[in-house]
Protein backbone atom coordinates (compact mmCIF):
# COMPACT_ATOMS: atom_id res chain seq x y z
CA UNK A 1 0.00 0.00 0.00
CA UNK A 2 1.24 3.47 -0.83
CA UNK A 3 1.28 6.60 1.29
CA UNK A 4 -1.48 8.29 -0.69
CA UNK A 5 -3.89 5.43 -0.09
CA UNK A 6 -3.17 5.48 3.62
CA UNK A 7 -3.63 9.22 3.85
CA UNK A 8 -7.17 9.23 2.53
CA UNK A 9 -8.09 6.42 4.91
CA UNK A 10 -6.52 7.91 8.01
CA UNK A 11 -9.73 8.89 9.74
CA UNK A 12 -11.48 5.71 8.65
CA UNK A 13 -8.61 3.72 10.15
CA UNK A 14 -8.74 5.68 13.39
CA UNK A 15 -12.45 5.05 13.59
CA UNK A 16 -11.86 1.38 12.85
CA UNK A 17 -14.16 1.49 9.86
CA UNK A 18 -11.86 -0.31 7.45
CA UNK A 19 -12.38 -3.96 6.79
CA UNK A 20 -9.88 -6.48 8.07
CA UNK A 21 -7.88 -6.73 4.86
CA UNK A 22 -7.51 -2.99 4.51
CA UNK A 23 -6.71 -2.55 8.17
CA UNK A 24 -3.91 -5.08 7.89
CA UNK A 25 -2.53 -3.41 4.78
CA UNK A 26 -2.63 0.06 6.31
CA UNK A 27 -1.05 -1.12 9.55
CA UNK A 28 1.68 -2.89 7.62
CA UNK A 29 2.44 0.32 5.82
CA UNK A 30 2.42 2.34 9.02
CA UNK A 31 4.97 0.00 10.51
CA UNK A 32 7.50 1.08 7.96
CA UNK A 33 6.46 4.65 7.12
CA UNK A 34 7.17 7.26 9.77
CA UNK A 35 5.74 10.07 7.64
CA UNK A 36 2.37 8.37 7.43
CA UNK A 37 2.35 7.77 11.15
CA UNK A 38 2.85 11.48 11.73
CA UNK A 39 0.15 12.35 9.20
CA UNK A 40 -2.22 9.88 10.75
CA UNK A 41 -1.71 11.37 14.19
CA UNK A 42 -2.18 14.88 12.87
CA UNK A 43 -5.32 13.93 10.99
CA UNK A 44 -6.75 12.53 14.19
CA UNK A 45 -5.91 15.66 16.14
CA UNK A 46 -7.37 17.96 13.52
CA UNK A 47 -10.50 15.89 13.44
CA UNK A 48 -10.83 16.13 17.20
CA UNK A 49 -10.37 19.90 17.12
CA UNK A 50 -12.89 20.31 14.33
CA UNK A 51 -15.45 18.24 16.15
CA UNK A 52 -14.95 20.61 19.07
CA UNK A 53 -15.93 23.60 16.97
CA UNK A 54 -18.80 25.17 18.84
CA UNK A 55 -22.10 25.33 17.02
CA UNK A 56 -24.72 27.73 18.23
CA UNK A 57 -27.62 26.17 20.00
CA UNK A 58 -31.09 26.82 18.74
CA UNK A 59 -33.50 28.16 21.33
CA UNK A 60 -36.82 26.44 21.79
CA UNK A 61 -38.79 29.47 20.68
CA UNK A 62 -36.77 29.86 17.52
CA UNK A 63 -36.97 26.17 16.77
CA UNK A 64 -40.74 26.32 17.11
CA UNK A 65 -40.95 29.33 14.82
CA UNK A 66 -38.75 27.69 12.23
CA UNK A 67 -40.78 24.49 12.38
CA UNK A 68 -44.09 26.23 11.99
CA UNK A 69 -42.71 28.43 9.23
CA UNK A 70 -41.50 25.33 7.41
CA UNK A 71 -44.83 23.58 7.71
CA UNK A 72 -46.64 26.72 6.59
CA UNK A 73 -44.35 26.99 3.58
CA UNK A 74 -44.99 23.33 2.83
CA UNK A 75 -48.68 24.08 2.71
CA UNK A 76 -48.11 27.17 0.60
CA UNK A 77 -46.01 25.24 -1.88
CA UNK A 78 -43.06 27.58 -1.49
CA UNK A 79 -39.61 26.31 -0.67
CA UNK A 80 -38.62 29.54 1.03
CA UNK A 81 -40.38 32.79 1.37
CA UNK A 82 -39.05 36.02 -0.01
CA UNK A 83 -36.30 37.65 1.89
CA UNK A 84 -35.75 41.27 2.56
CA UNK A 85 -34.69 43.13 -0.50
CA UNK A 86 -31.55 44.27 1.25
CA UNK A 87 -30.72 40.72 2.16
CA UNK A 88 -31.13 39.55 -1.39
CA UNK A 89 -28.91 42.35 -2.47
CA UNK A 90 -26.35 40.69 -0.28
CA UNK A 91 -22.93 42.16 -0.03
CA UNK A 92 -23.72 44.95 -2.47
CA UNK A 93 -26.36 46.25 -0.15
CA UNK A 94 -24.13 45.85 2.85
CA UNK A 95 -21.24 47.77 1.42
CA UNK A 96 -23.46 50.42 -0.07
CA UNK A 97 -25.19 50.84 3.27
CA UNK A 98 -21.83 51.06 4.98
CA UNK A 99 -20.62 53.81 2.71
CA UNK A 100 -23.77 55.71 2.02
CA UNK A 101 -24.91 55.27 5.60
CA UNK A 102 -22.24 57.68 6.77
CA UNK A 103 -23.94 60.36 4.80
CA UNK A 104 -27.45 59.13 5.25
CA UNK A 105 -27.19 58.89 8.99
CA UNK A 106 -27.80 62.58 9.09
CA UNK A 107 -31.06 62.09 7.26
CA UNK A 108 -32.38 58.75 8.43
CA UNK A 109 -36.10 59.49 8.49
CA UNK A 110 -37.96 58.45 5.43
CA UNK A 111 -40.67 61.09 5.84
CA UNK A 112 -40.87 64.58 7.30
CA UNK A 113 -40.44 64.87 11.07
CA UNK A 114 -43.59 64.22 13.03
CA UNK A 115 -45.58 67.21 14.14
CA UNK A 116 -45.62 68.43 17.70
CA UNK A 117 -42.99 68.50 20.40
CA UNK A 118 -40.37 65.86 20.81
CA UNK A 119 -42.24 64.35 23.73
CA UNK A 120 -42.41 60.60 23.50
CA UNK A 121 -45.55 59.12 22.14
CA UNK A 122 -47.41 56.14 23.50
CA UNK A 123 -45.82 52.77 23.35
CA UNK A 124 -47.20 49.31 23.63
CA UNK A 125 -45.56 46.36 25.31
CA UNK A 126 -47.27 43.17 24.36
CA UNK A 127 -46.66 39.68 25.57
CA UNK A 128 -48.68 37.32 23.43
CA UNK A 129 -47.79 33.68 22.88
CA UNK A 130 -45.49 33.36 19.90
CA UNK A 131 -43.78 36.47 18.59
CA UNK A 132 -46.05 37.99 16.02
CA UNK A 133 -44.05 39.27 13.09
CA UNK A 134 -44.55 42.88 12.19
CA UNK A 135 -45.95 43.58 8.76
CA UNK A 136 -43.28 43.13 6.18
CA UNK A 137 -40.81 41.56 8.58
CA UNK A 138 -39.52 38.03 8.57
CA UNK A 139 -37.77 37.48 11.83
CA UNK A 140 -35.82 34.33 11.25
CA UNK A 141 -32.96 34.95 8.82
CA UNK A 142 -31.29 37.94 10.41
CA UNK A 143 -31.95 36.52 13.80
CA UNK A 144 -30.20 33.35 12.77
CA UNK A 145 -27.20 35.17 11.45
CA UNK A 146 -26.74 37.11 14.63
CA UNK A 147 -27.26 34.20 16.89
CA UNK A 148 -24.45 32.50 15.08
CA UNK A 149 -22.05 35.33 15.50
CA UNK A 150 -22.12 36.79 12.03
CA UNK A 151 -21.68 40.50 12.04
CA UNK A 152 -23.19 42.13 9.02
CA UNK A 153 -23.85 45.82 8.71
CA UNK A 154 -27.23 45.70 10.33
CA UNK A 155 -26.61 42.91 12.74
CA UNK A 156 -24.31 42.64 15.72
CA UNK A 157 -23.49 40.24 18.43
CA UNK A 158 -21.95 41.64 21.54
CA UNK A 159 -20.02 39.91 24.24
CA UNK A 160 -17.57 41.16 26.79
CA UNK A 161 -17.31 43.12 29.96
CA UNK A 162 -18.02 46.52 28.53
CA UNK A 163 -21.15 47.65 26.81
CA UNK A 164 -21.14 49.00 23.33
CA UNK A 165 -22.97 51.79 21.67
CA UNK A 166 -24.52 50.60 18.48
CA UNK A 167 -24.61 52.92 15.52
CA UNK A 168 -27.47 51.44 13.64
CA UNK A 169 -29.50 53.37 11.13
CA UNK A 170 -32.72 52.89 13.03
CA UNK A 171 -33.57 56.39 14.16
CA UNK A 172 -32.62 55.31 17.64
CA UNK A 173 -29.65 55.34 19.97
CA UNK A 174 -28.89 51.99 21.46
CA UNK A 175 -26.74 50.70 24.25
CA UNK A 176 -26.12 47.00 24.55
CA UNK A 177 -25.05 45.71 27.91
CA UNK A 178 -22.23 43.21 28.21
CA UNK A 179 -22.89 39.71 27.02
CA UNK A 180 -25.99 40.80 25.18
CA UNK A 181 -26.94 39.19 21.93
CA UNK A 182 -29.19 41.21 19.72
CA UNK A 183 -30.13 40.99 16.09
CA UNK A 184 -31.43 43.76 13.94
CA UNK A 185 -33.65 43.78 10.92
CA UNK A 186 -35.42 46.48 9.05
CA UNK A 187 -38.15 46.76 6.48
CA UNK A 188 -39.50 49.90 4.87
CA UNK A 189 -41.11 51.46 7.93
CA UNK A 190 -40.46 48.84 10.54
CA UNK A 191 -37.44 48.27 12.70
CA UNK A 192 -37.10 45.19 14.78
CA UNK A 193 -34.58 43.99 17.31
CA UNK A 194 -34.38 40.48 18.64
CA UNK A 195 -32.96 40.34 22.12
CA UNK A 196 -31.52 36.88 22.55
CA UNK A 197 -30.18 37.65 25.97
CA UNK A 198 -28.83 40.55 28.01
CA UNK A 199 -30.16 44.08 28.04
CA UNK A 200 -30.76 46.64 25.37
CA UNK A 201 -31.27 50.29 26.26
CA UNK A 202 -32.88 52.34 23.51
CA UNK A 203 -33.68 55.97 22.99
CA UNK A 204 -36.16 55.90 20.17
CA UNK A 205 -36.65 59.17 18.39
CA UNK A 206 -40.20 60.18 17.62
CA UNK A 207 -41.20 58.23 14.58
CA UNK A 208 -43.49 59.08 11.73
CA UNK A 209 -46.97 57.67 11.73
CA UNK A 210 -47.12 54.22 10.20
CA UNK A 211 -43.63 53.24 11.23
CA UNK A 212 -42.88 50.84 14.04
CA UNK A 213 -40.01 50.08 16.33
CA UNK A 214 -40.10 46.68 17.95
CA UNK A 215 -37.93 44.85 20.42
CA UNK A 216 -38.72 41.15 20.66
CA UNK A 217 -37.44 39.29 23.69
CA UNK A 218 -38.52 35.72 24.06
CA UNK A 219 -42.28 35.67 24.02
CA UNK A 220 -42.58 39.39 24.66
CA UNK A 221 -42.76 42.04 22.01
CA UNK A 222 -42.15 45.69 22.85
CA UNK A 223 -43.46 48.14 20.31
CA UNK A 224 -42.31 51.71 20.81
CA UNK A 225 -42.83 55.18 19.46
CA UNK A 226 -40.38 57.66 20.86
CA UNK A 227 -39.24 56.94 24.39
CA UNK A 228 -36.27 55.94 26.53
CA UNK A 229 -36.63 52.40 27.72
CA UNK A 230 -34.71 49.23 28.31
CA UNK A 231 -35.63 45.60 27.79
CA UNK A 232 -33.70 42.95 29.65
CA UNK A 233 -34.02 39.25 29.18
CA UNK A 234 -32.68 36.37 31.17
CA UNK A 235 -34.10 33.14 29.84
CA UNK A 236 -37.88 33.49 30.10
CA UNK A 237 -37.83 36.50 32.42
CA UNK A 238 -38.31 39.74 30.56
CA UNK A 239 -38.12 43.14 32.21
CA UNK A 240 -39.00 46.54 30.79
CA UNK A 241 -37.57 49.68 32.42
CA UNK A 242 -39.24 52.88 31.34
CA UNK A 243 -37.18 56.00 31.91
CA UNK A 244 -39.06 58.47 29.75
CA UNK A 245 -42.38 58.50 27.94
CA UNK A 246 -45.26 56.09 28.38
CA UNK A 247 -45.86 52.51 27.41
CA UNK A 248 -48.68 50.07 27.54
CA UNK A 249 -47.82 46.56 28.62
CA UNK A 250 -50.05 43.92 27.16
CA UNK A 251 -50.02 40.46 28.65
CA UNK A 252 -52.51 37.62 28.31
CA UNK A 253 -54.33 38.81 31.41
CA UNK A 254 -54.87 42.34 30.15
CA UNK A 255 -53.29 45.72 29.54
CA UNK A 256 -51.35 47.84 31.97
CA UNK A 257 -50.21 51.39 31.39
CA UNK A 258 -46.70 52.21 32.52
CA UNK A 259 -45.46 55.66 33.33
CA UNK A 260 -41.94 56.94 33.35
CA UNK A 261 -40.03 55.61 36.33
CA UNK A 262 -41.74 52.23 36.39
CA UNK A 263 -40.50 48.75 35.78
CA UNK A 264 -42.57 45.85 34.46
CA UNK A 265 -41.41 42.30 35.04
CA UNK A 266 -42.98 39.46 33.13
CA UNK A 267 -42.08 36.00 34.38
CA UNK A 268 -43.93 32.71 34.69
CA UNK A 269 -46.95 34.24 33.01
CA UNK A 270 -47.27 36.98 35.64
CA UNK A 271 -46.75 40.68 35.11
CA UNK A 272 -45.65 42.80 38.03
CA UNK A 273 -45.09 46.54 38.05
CA UNK A 274 -42.78 48.20 40.52
CA UNK A 275 -41.00 51.52 40.83
CA UNK A 276 -37.84 51.84 38.83
CA UNK A 277 -34.86 52.53 41.04
CA UNK A 278 -33.76 56.13 40.65
CA UNK A 279 -30.17 55.09 40.29
CA UNK A 280 -31.08 52.76 37.46
CA UNK A 281 -33.02 55.47 35.65
CA UNK A 282 -30.22 57.96 36.16
CA UNK A 283 -27.66 55.52 34.83
CA UNK A 284 -29.75 54.83 31.74
CA UNK A 285 -30.35 58.51 31.21
CA UNK A 286 -26.65 59.23 31.52
CA UNK A 287 -25.91 56.49 29.07
CA UNK A 288 -28.25 57.82 26.42
CA UNK A 289 -28.96 61.48 27.14
CA UNK A 290 -31.50 63.29 25.03
CA UNK A 291 -29.92 64.73 21.93
CA UNK A 292 -29.92 68.52 21.70
CA UNK A 293 -32.54 69.86 19.38
CA UNK A 294 -29.89 71.41 17.18
CA UNK A 295 -28.69 67.96 16.17
CA UNK A 296 -31.98 67.08 14.56
CA UNK A 297 -31.32 65.99 11.05
CA UNK A 298 -32.19 68.61 8.49
CA UNK A 299 -33.77 67.78 5.21
CA UNK A 300 -31.02 67.65 2.65
CA UNK A 301 -31.27 70.45 0.12
CA UNK A 302 -32.57 69.62 -3.31
CA UNK A 303 -29.82 68.78 -5.75
CA UNK A 304 -27.38 67.83 -3.01
CA UNK A 305 -25.55 64.52 -3.13
CA UNK A 306 -27.36 63.53 0.07
CA UNK A 307 -30.70 63.93 -1.67
CA UNK A 308 -29.49 61.59 -4.40
CA UNK A 309 -28.23 59.18 -1.78
CA UNK A 310 -31.63 59.08 -0.16
CA UNK A 311 -33.22 58.30 -3.45
CA UNK A 312 -30.64 55.63 -4.26
CA UNK A 313 -30.92 54.03 -0.85
CA UNK A 314 -34.69 53.96 -0.94
CA UNK A 315 -34.62 52.33 -4.37
CA UNK A 316 -31.96 49.86 -3.34
CA UNK A 317 -33.86 48.83 -0.23
CA UNK A 318 -36.98 48.33 -2.27
CA UNK A 319 -35.08 46.11 -4.69
CA UNK A 320 -35.22 48.64 -7.55
CA UNK A 321 -31.58 48.19 -8.45
CA UNK A 322 -31.69 49.93 -11.81
CA UNK A 323 -33.23 53.04 -10.27
CA UNK A 324 -30.66 53.00 -7.48
CA UNK A 325 -27.87 52.71 -10.03
CA UNK A 326 -29.27 55.68 -11.90
CA UNK A 327 -29.20 57.79 -8.73
CA UNK A 328 -25.63 56.77 -7.97
CA UNK A 329 -24.63 57.63 -11.52
CA UNK A 330 -26.29 61.01 -11.01
CA UNK A 331 -24.04 61.70 -8.02
CA UNK A 332 -20.98 60.78 -10.05
CA UNK A 333 -22.00 62.98 -12.93
CA UNK A 334 -23.04 66.01 -10.88
CA UNK A 335 -20.31 65.95 -8.25
CA UNK A 336 -17.19 64.67 -9.97
CA UNK A 337 -14.03 64.43 -7.96
CA UNK A 338 -15.79 64.56 -4.58
CA UNK A 339 -15.94 61.98 -1.83
CA UNK A 340 -19.61 61.54 -2.61
CA UNK A 341 -18.73 60.56 -6.18
CA UNK A 342 -16.23 57.96 -4.97
CA UNK A 343 -18.78 56.54 -2.53
CA UNK A 344 -21.35 56.42 -5.29
CA UNK A 345 -18.92 54.61 -7.57
CA UNK A 346 -18.33 52.01 -4.91
CA UNK A 347 -22.03 51.50 -4.27
CA UNK A 348 -22.62 51.36 -8.00
CA UNK A 349 -19.92 48.73 -8.39
CA UNK A 350 -21.61 46.60 -5.76
CA UNK A 351 -24.94 46.93 -7.51
CA UNK A 352 -23.42 45.97 -10.84
CA UNK A 353 -21.60 43.04 -9.36
CA UNK A 354 -24.61 41.88 -7.37
CA UNK A 355 -28.17 42.24 -8.51
CA UNK A 356 -27.46 43.78 -11.90
CA UNK A 357 -25.00 41.06 -12.92
CA UNK A 358 -22.68 43.31 -14.89
CA UNK A 359 -19.17 42.51 -13.66
CA UNK A 360 -17.43 44.53 -16.37
CA UNK A 361 -19.37 47.64 -15.38
CA UNK A 362 -18.64 46.83 -11.75
CA UNK A 363 -14.94 46.69 -12.46
CA UNK A 364 -15.10 50.09 -14.13
CA UNK A 365 -16.99 51.55 -11.16
CA UNK A 366 -14.52 50.14 -8.65
CA UNK A 367 -11.67 51.65 -10.67
CA UNK A 368 -13.40 55.02 -10.49
CA UNK A 369 -13.86 54.67 -6.73
CA UNK A 370 -10.19 53.84 -6.37
CA UNK A 371 -9.21 56.84 -8.44
CA UNK A 372 -11.31 59.06 -6.21
CA UNK A 373 -10.13 57.64 -2.87
CA UNK A 374 -6.52 56.50 -2.80
CA UNK A 375 -6.85 55.38 0.84
CA UNK A 376 -9.42 54.65 3.53
CA UNK A 377 -12.48 52.47 3.79
CA UNK A 378 -13.73 53.18 0.29
CA UNK A 379 -10.34 52.26 -1.07
CA UNK A 380 -10.40 48.98 0.82
CA UNK A 381 -13.90 48.08 -0.30
CA UNK A 382 -13.16 49.05 -3.88
CA UNK A 383 -10.01 46.93 -3.97
CA UNK A 384 -11.95 43.94 -2.69
CA UNK A 385 -14.77 44.60 -5.13
CA UNK A 386 -12.29 44.83 -7.98
CA UNK A 387 -10.93 41.37 -7.20
CA UNK A 388 -14.44 39.94 -7.03
CA UNK A 389 -15.40 41.57 -10.31
CA UNK A 390 -12.35 40.10 -12.01
CA UNK A 391 -13.22 36.71 -10.63
CA UNK A 392 -16.73 37.09 -12.00
CA UNK A 393 -15.18 37.95 -15.34
CA UNK A 394 -13.14 34.72 -15.16
CA UNK A 395 -9.79 36.44 -15.33
CA UNK A 396 -7.78 34.35 -12.85
CA UNK A 397 -4.42 36.05 -13.25
CA UNK A 398 -5.87 39.52 -12.81
CA UNK A 399 -8.02 38.29 -9.91
CA UNK A 400 -4.93 37.07 -8.11
CA UNK A 401 -3.14 40.33 -8.79
CA UNK A 402 -6.10 42.38 -7.54
CA UNK A 403 -6.42 40.26 -4.40
CA UNK A 404 -2.70 40.64 -3.79
CA UNK A 405 -3.06 44.40 -4.17
CA UNK A 406 -5.77 44.36 -1.52
CA UNK A 407 -3.59 42.35 0.84
CA UNK A 408 -0.66 44.70 0.25
CA UNK A 409 -2.71 47.71 1.28
CA UNK A 410 -4.93 46.07 3.90
CA UNK A 411 -3.22 42.94 5.21
CA UNK A 412 -5.56 42.78 8.19
CA UNK A 413 -8.61 44.12 6.40
CA UNK A 414 -12.08 42.73 6.81
CA UNK A 415 -11.87 40.94 3.47
CA UNK A 416 -8.32 39.68 3.93
CA UNK A 417 -9.41 36.09 4.37
CA UNK A 418 -11.44 36.10 1.21
CA UNK A 419 -8.67 37.93 -0.66
CA UNK A 420 -6.08 35.41 0.46
CA UNK A 421 -8.22 32.70 -1.03
CA UNK A 422 -8.51 34.64 -4.26
CA UNK A 423 -4.79 35.41 -4.33
CA UNK A 424 -3.90 31.75 -4.39
Amino acid sequence: MRCRRVEGRAVALLREELDAVETLAVNAHLEVCAACRVRLARAGRLQAHLEALPLPALGAARRDRLRERTLAALDDGAAAGPSFPWRRLGAAAGVAALVAGLVLWLWPRPSPPPPGPAAPGPAAVAAPGPVAPSPGLRPAPVHAACAEGVWTTPCRRVTGATGVRADLPAAADLWLEPDSVVAFERAAAATRFHLERGRILARVHPRPAGSSFVVAAGDMVVTVRGTLFAVARREQRVQVDLVEGTVTVTVPTGDRALAAGQRAVFAAGQLEVEPLAAARAAADLARLPAAPASTAAPTPPAGSPERYYRRAEAARRAGRSAEAAQAYRGIRRLFPGTAAAANASLALGDLYLGPLHRPAAALHSYDEALAGRPAGAVHEEALAGRARALRALARPDQTRAAAAAYLRHHPAGIHSQEMRALAR
Binding site: A34, L74, A79, A91
Partner: protein, 202 residues
Amino acid sequence: MEVVSPIPRTPPQPHAGDSLIDRCRAGDRRALRELFDLHLERVRRILRRLLGNHPDLDDLTQTVFIECFRSLHSYRGEALFGTWLSRICVRTAQRRFGDRVRAPVSLEVCTADEPGEDPRPSLERRDQLRRLGAIVSALPPKLRVAYVLHVIEGHTLNETAAILSRSTALVTLRVRAAQREIERRVQEDPGLRPLLEPEAGR
Protein backbone atom coordinates in the same frame (compact mmCIF):
# COMPACT_ATOMS: atom_id res chain seq x y z
CA MET B 1 6.45 5.86 17.24
CA GLU B 2 3.59 8.15 18.11
CA VAL B 3 0.70 6.57 19.86
CA VAL B 4 -2.42 6.87 17.81
CA SER B 5 -5.59 5.98 19.57
CA PRO B 6 -8.72 5.11 17.72
CA ILE B 7 -11.36 7.79 17.46
CA PRO B 8 -14.71 6.68 18.71
CA ARG B 9 -17.11 6.70 15.85
CA THR B 10 -19.79 9.32 16.08
CA PRO B 11 -22.83 7.33 17.02
CA PRO B 12 -25.30 7.07 14.18
CA GLN B 13 -28.17 9.48 14.30
CA PRO B 14 -31.33 8.07 15.64
CA HIS B 15 -33.03 6.21 12.89
CA ALA B 16 -36.32 7.75 12.09
CA GLY B 17 -38.60 4.83 12.67
CA ASP B 18 -40.54 3.43 9.78
CA SER B 19 -43.77 4.18 11.52
CA LEU B 20 -42.83 7.84 11.85
CA ILE B 21 -41.91 8.00 8.17
CA ASP B 22 -45.14 6.28 7.26
CA ARG B 23 -47.12 8.74 9.34
CA CYS B 24 -45.29 11.61 7.67
CA ARG B 25 -46.07 10.18 4.27
CA ALA B 26 -49.70 10.07 5.27
CA GLY B 27 -49.55 13.79 6.00
CA ASP B 28 -49.74 13.51 9.78
CA ARG B 29 -48.79 16.99 11.02
CA ARG B 30 -47.66 15.76 14.38
CA ALA B 31 -45.34 13.25 12.73
CA LEU B 32 -43.90 15.97 10.51
CA ARG B 33 -43.20 18.06 13.58
CA GLU B 34 -41.57 15.08 15.28
CA LEU B 35 -39.38 14.38 12.29
CA PHE B 36 -38.42 18.04 12.08
CA ASP B 37 -37.42 18.20 15.74
CA LEU B 38 -35.55 14.93 15.51
CA HIS B 39 -33.33 16.05 12.67
CA LEU B 40 -33.22 19.82 12.98
CA GLU B 41 -29.89 19.99 14.79
CA ARG B 42 -28.31 17.60 12.36
CA VAL B 43 -29.48 19.55 9.33
CA ARG B 44 -28.32 22.86 10.75
CA ARG B 45 -25.00 21.38 11.76
CA ILE B 46 -24.30 19.99 8.30
CA LEU B 47 -25.38 23.18 6.56
CA ARG B 48 -23.28 25.28 8.86
CA ARG B 49 -20.25 23.11 8.46
CA LEU B 50 -20.62 23.17 4.70
CA LEU B 51 -21.48 26.83 4.32
CA GLY B 52 -19.97 28.50 7.37
CA ASN B 53 -21.85 31.40 8.90
CA HIS B 54 -24.32 31.73 6.09
CA PRO B 55 -26.84 34.48 6.69
CA ASP B 56 -29.69 32.42 5.24
CA LEU B 57 -29.14 29.36 7.36
CA ASP B 58 -32.74 29.28 8.55
CA ASP B 59 -34.03 29.64 5.00
CA LEU B 60 -31.79 26.82 3.87
CA THR B 61 -32.86 24.64 6.77
CA GLN B 62 -36.43 25.25 5.76
CA THR B 63 -35.62 24.35 2.17
CA VAL B 64 -34.01 21.08 3.24
CA PHE B 65 -37.00 20.03 5.29
CA ILE B 66 -39.50 20.97 2.64
CA GLU B 67 -37.57 18.96 0.09
CA CYS B 68 -37.34 16.14 2.59
CA PHE B 69 -41.07 16.14 3.35
CA ARG B 70 -41.95 16.29 -0.32
CA SER B 71 -39.57 13.49 -1.25
CA LEU B 72 -40.46 11.12 1.54
CA HIS B 73 -42.32 8.93 -0.91
CA SER B 74 -39.01 8.29 -2.67
CA TYR B 75 -37.21 7.25 0.51
CA ARG B 76 -37.15 3.49 0.30
CA GLY B 77 -35.23 2.77 3.45
CA GLU B 78 -32.16 1.48 1.65
CA ALA B 79 -29.94 3.86 3.56
CA LEU B 80 -30.23 5.33 7.01
CA PHE B 81 -32.68 8.18 7.02
CA GLY B 82 -29.91 10.45 8.29
CA THR B 83 -27.74 9.60 5.31
CA TRP B 84 -30.61 10.27 2.96
CA LEU B 85 -31.23 13.59 4.67
CA SER B 86 -27.54 14.46 4.47
CA ARG B 87 -27.76 14.09 0.73
CA ILE B 88 -30.52 16.69 0.62
CA CYS B 89 -28.42 18.98 2.82
CA VAL B 90 -25.46 18.64 0.50
CA ARG B 91 -27.59 19.33 -2.57
CA THR B 92 -29.05 22.40 -0.92
CA ALA B 93 -25.66 23.64 0.21
CA GLN B 94 -24.12 23.07 -3.20
CA ARG B 95 -26.53 25.56 -4.69
CA ARG B 96 -25.19 28.21 -2.30
CA PHE B 97 -21.47 27.61 -2.50
CA GLY B 98 -21.02 30.69 -4.63
CA ASP B 99 -22.55 32.98 -2.02
CA ARG B 100 -20.30 35.47 -0.39
CA VAL B 101 -20.45 35.09 3.35
CA ARG B 102 -18.95 37.51 5.79
CA ALA B 103 -16.52 35.97 8.18
CA PRO B 104 -17.41 36.22 11.81
CA VAL B 105 -16.09 39.39 13.36
CA SER B 106 -15.50 39.76 17.05
CA LEU B 107 -17.00 43.05 18.10
CA GLU B 108 -15.83 43.24 21.67
CA VAL B 109 -12.96 42.07 23.74
CA CYS B 110 -14.21 39.23 25.86
CA THR B 111 -13.13 39.01 29.47
CA ALA B 112 -13.17 36.32 32.06
CA ASP B 113 -16.49 35.00 33.16
CA GLU B 114 -15.28 34.82 36.73
CA PRO B 115 -13.32 37.61 38.40
CA GLY B 116 -9.70 36.74 38.69
CA GLU B 117 -9.85 34.07 36.02
CA ASP B 118 -7.30 34.49 33.30
CA PRO B 119 -9.34 34.68 30.09
CA ARG B 120 -6.45 34.18 27.75
CA PRO B 121 -6.37 30.39 27.41
CA SER B 122 -10.03 30.10 26.54
CA LEU B 123 -9.83 33.10 24.24
CA GLU B 124 -6.84 31.63 22.47
CA ARG B 125 -8.57 28.30 22.19
CA ARG B 126 -11.70 29.90 20.79
CA ASP B 127 -9.67 31.92 18.37
CA GLN B 128 -7.77 28.84 17.26
CA LEU B 129 -10.98 26.95 16.63
CA ARG B 130 -12.49 29.87 14.79
CA ARG B 131 -9.49 30.10 12.51
CA LEU B 132 -9.44 26.36 12.00
CA GLY B 133 -13.10 26.50 11.03
CA ALA B 134 -12.29 29.30 8.60
CA ILE B 135 -9.65 27.13 6.96
CA VAL B 136 -12.19 24.37 6.39
CA SER B 137 -14.69 26.91 5.08
CA ALA B 138 -12.09 28.17 2.61
CA LEU B 139 -11.53 24.73 1.08
CA PRO B 140 -12.77 24.26 -2.47
CA PRO B 141 -16.37 23.06 -2.26
CA LYS B 142 -15.76 19.54 -3.54
CA LEU B 143 -13.00 18.92 -1.04
CA ARG B 144 -14.93 20.62 1.73
CA VAL B 145 -18.04 18.50 1.26
CA ALA B 146 -16.09 15.24 1.26
CA TYR B 147 -14.04 16.28 4.26
CA VAL B 148 -16.96 17.57 6.30
CA LEU B 149 -19.13 14.53 5.66
CA HIS B 150 -16.43 11.97 6.32
CA VAL B 151 -14.13 13.52 8.89
CA ILE B 152 -16.37 15.86 10.84
CA GLU B 153 -19.82 14.43 10.39
CA GLY B 154 -18.59 10.90 10.83
CA HIS B 155 -19.96 9.26 7.69
CA THR B 156 -17.89 6.35 6.46
CA LEU B 157 -16.10 6.67 3.15
CA ASN B 158 -18.73 4.48 1.54
CA GLU B 159 -21.60 6.51 2.99
CA THR B 160 -19.95 9.73 1.89
CA ALA B 161 -19.54 8.31 -1.59
CA ALA B 162 -23.21 7.35 -1.63
CA ILE B 163 -24.30 10.77 -0.45
CA LEU B 164 -22.22 12.46 -3.12
CA SER B 165 -23.03 9.87 -5.80
CA ARG B 166 -19.31 9.45 -6.39
CA SER B 167 -16.95 6.51 -6.14
CA THR B 168 -15.31 5.72 -2.83
CA ALA B 169 -11.92 6.12 -4.50
CA LEU B 170 -12.73 9.65 -5.57
CA VAL B 171 -14.05 10.56 -2.13
CA THR B 172 -10.88 9.15 -0.57
CA LEU B 173 -8.80 11.30 -2.88
CA ARG B 174 -10.79 14.38 -1.99
CA VAL B 175 -10.53 13.72 1.71
CA ARG B 176 -6.78 13.31 1.33
CA ALA B 177 -6.47 16.52 -0.66
CA ALA B 178 -8.55 18.39 1.90
CA GLN B 179 -6.48 17.00 4.74
CA ARG B 180 -3.26 18.07 3.05
CA GLU B 181 -4.59 21.55 2.39
CA ILE B 182 -5.81 22.00 5.94
CA GLU B 183 -2.54 20.73 7.35
CA ARG B 184 -0.59 23.04 5.08
CA ARG B 185 -2.64 26.06 6.14
CA VAL B 186 -2.35 25.12 9.79
CA GLN B 187 1.40 24.75 9.44
CA GLU B 188 1.60 28.19 7.86
CA ASP B 189 -0.13 29.77 10.84
CA PRO B 190 2.12 29.88 13.89
CA GLY B 191 -0.91 30.30 16.11
CA LEU B 192 -2.51 27.13 14.82
CA ARG B 193 0.58 24.97 14.55
CA PRO B 194 0.25 23.72 18.13
CA LEU B 195 -3.04 22.10 17.14
CA LEU B 196 -1.05 19.48 15.29
CA GLU B 197 0.99 18.63 18.33
CA PRO B 198 -0.12 16.18 21.00
CA GLU B 199 -2.50 17.61 23.62
CA ALA B 200 -2.34 21.07 22.04
CA GLY B 201 -4.99 23.58 22.72
CA ARG B 202 -6.94 21.27 24.95
